[in-house]
C-alpha cells in the first residue's frame, strides 16, 4: 500500500509517501511558497522511495482547518492527482495530525490541538489517545474564541499547535491540567499520511471531486444590507 500525502494548511509545506510501516517525508516552513514547492516535493519523496506515480494507491491531504488558500492548494493538487491517476482520496484533519504527532512525542491521555485562526479566534479540538496512539476526537472541531475552550471532562495534559503561541495565557487558564505544550509544531504530511493509511485500510475513501476543504469558518462575507445597519 502506497499513500501519497500532502499538507499545506499552515506556514509549513510537506509531502510524504507512506508505504506500510515506512514513511518518507519532505518538510519545510515556507510561508506563501507552497504553490512553488509542493509538486517538486512530491517528486522528491517518490524518487527517494523508488516509486513511480502510477503506483500510488490513494492521496491523503490535510483537509483543514487552516489557511483558506493553503487548504485549496492541497485540495486542488489532490483533485488533480487523484483524478489523473484514477485513485481515491483520504481527507485528514490537520488538528488530528497535530494530535497524533503530540501523542508520539509526549506522554498524556488528552491533548488540545489548535491553530491560530486570526480575528481573536482559534481552530481547535480535543483528542484522547486511542489505540496505538491514534487520536480520537472528543466533541467537535470548532472555530472559537480561546476564552470559550473547555476541557469536556477529560484530563488534558498536552497542548499542540500555533494557537498555543498566540493564546498561551488564556488557554492555560482554561485548561489548567496542561503540563506540556508543543507550540512550534505544524501539521505534517507524515502524520496526515499515516492517519490516511488507517482510513484507507478501513475503506474510508472518497472520490477525487470530494477533496474539498473543511474551513470551519463559514462566515466570510457580509451582505451589504447587514453591513449598513452597523
Amino acid at each position: 500500500m502506497k499513500i501519497l500525502a500532502i499538507e499545506t494548511a499552515t506556514e509549513a509545506c510537506s509531502a510524504a509517501l507512506v508505504q506500510d510501516g515506512d514513511v518518507i517525508e519532505r518538510y519545510v516552513v515556507a510561508p506563501r511558497e507552497h504553490n512553488r514547492l509542493i509538486l517538486p516535493m512530491i517528486e522528491e519523496v517518490l524518487a527517494e522511495a523508488g516509486v513511480v506515480r502510477t503506483q500510488i494507491d490513494a492521496v491523503a491531504f490535510g483537509r483543514g482547518p487552516g489557511s483558506f488558500t493553503g487548504l485549496r492548494i492541497a485540495a486542488g493538487v489532490t483533485q488533480g492527482i487523484a483524478y489523473g491517476l484514477d485513485c481515491p482520496v483520504l481527507p485528514v484533519s490537520t488538528l488530528a495530525a497535530l494530535a497524533f504527532q503530540s501523542f508520539e512525542e509526549a506522554a498524556g491521555e488528552g491533548v488540545y490541538a489548535c491553530l491560530d485562526a486570526r480575528m481573536g479566534e482559534i481552530y481547535g479540538a480535543l483528542f484522547r489517545r486511542g489505540q496505538a496512539g491514534v487520536p480520537d476526537l472528543i466533541g467537535d472541531e470548532a472555530v472559537l474564541a480561546p476564552e470559550r475552550v473547555e476541557a469536556a471532562g477529560i484530563m488534558v495534559r498536552l497542548g499542540v499547535g500555533s494557537g498555543w503561541v498566540t493564546y498561551r495565557g488564556v488557554l492555560s487558564e482554561r485548561l489548567k491540567t496542561v503540563v506540556e505544550v508543543l507550540e512550534d509544531h505544524f501539521p505534517r504530511a507524515a502524520y496526515i499520511g499515516r492517519l490516511g493509511a488507517r482510513d484507507f485500510a478501513a475503506g474510508r475513501c472518497v472520490s477525487a471531486g470530494e477533496a474539498i476543504p473543511v474551513y470551519l469558518r463559514d462566515q466570510v462575507a457580509r451582505k451589504p444590507r447587514t453591513q449598513a445597519r452597523e
Partner: protein
Amino acid sequence: MQSNTSFRVLGIETSCDETGLAVFDSRYGLLAHALHSQVQLHADYGGVVPELASRDHIRKLLPLLREVLSAAGLGRSDLDGVAYTAGPGLVGALLAGAAAGRALAWALDVPALAVHHMEGHLLAPLLEADRPEFPFLCLLVSGGHTQLIDVAGIGRYGILGESLDDAAGEAFDKVAKMLGLGYPGGPAVAALAERGMPGRFRFPRPMTDRPGLDFSFSGLKTHVLQVLAAHPDNADVRADVAAEFQAAVVETLLVKCRRALRETGLQRLVVSGGVSANRAMRSALRVLSEEEGVRVYFPRLEFCTDNGAMIAYAGCQRLLAGQAEPLRIAAYPRWPLDTLAPL
C-alpha cells in the same frame, strides 16, 4: 493553427467568477466546453466576493472536468496537455484552478501551460470557423481591461492604448448599480438602454477630442450621478440615462478604433472580452468596418465572457509550439500582456 494529428488540450479557467473547462483538439477544433457561472452566488453582495469565488471553484472543477471529458467522448489518458489560467485575476481563484490543472498534468505525465487570461480573450475569435489571420487590431473590452492592441502573432502584442482608469465593463457595472440594477450590470444596462433614448441627456465622449489611443471611463459615472440627482426617479429617466451612457461608451470605443486602424493600416479588427457581447457596440463596429474597408471579427456570444474554451485554445497553440511550464503552480494576479513570450 490546425494540424493533421490530434493534440488535445484541457483548458481550465478560474480567474474570477466563472469556472470554465473545455477540450480543444488541434485537428478537430473545440470538442466540448462547460461553464459554471457564480453570478447567483455573488448577486446579494453587489460584486464578486473573492473568498466565496475560490470556494466555489474548488467545488465545481471536478464535476465540470468529468462533464467535458464525457461530452468529448474522451478518457483522461486522451489528454495531451493541460492549460490553465495563471493570471491576471483574483489570486485565490487562480490558485484553485492552477493547483488542480498543474497537478493533473503531472499525474497524466503531460505538459502544462500557464495561460494569460487576456491572451485567451484576445484569441477567442480564432475558435470560430471564419477566423481572422494575423496581423490584426484587437479591441479588448472586458470587466478589467480596455485595450487597443496591435497583434502581429501569438505573443506578439503591442499595446497601442488602454484605459487610464475604469475598464469599459467596470463602467457598465458601476452605472448598473447607480440605476439600481443587479450585478453584473453590463447586460442589464444594455437591455435598459434598448428602451431609452440616447441624446435626451448628453454625456461626453471622454478623450476623443485629443490625439492618442487611451481611454478614460471613470468620469462618465459623475455625469450619470448628476443627471439622476437632477431628475425625478422614474423608468423613462433611467432608460434614457442607460441609453446615453451606452452611446457614449460605444462612440468613444468607435472613435479610437477608427484612429487605430488608420494609424496602423491594419486590415482586420478583432473585438473580444465581455463587453464585445454588447449589441449596440457590435452593430456600430460593423458599420465602422464597412466605412473603413476592413473586416471585423467577434467571438460567439458565449465566448465573449470568461470561458475554458479560449484558455484551451491559447494553451494548445503554445504547447504545440513546444512551450511548457516547469513543475510549479503558477498564479500571477498582475501580469502585463506585453511580457509574454512570442510564439
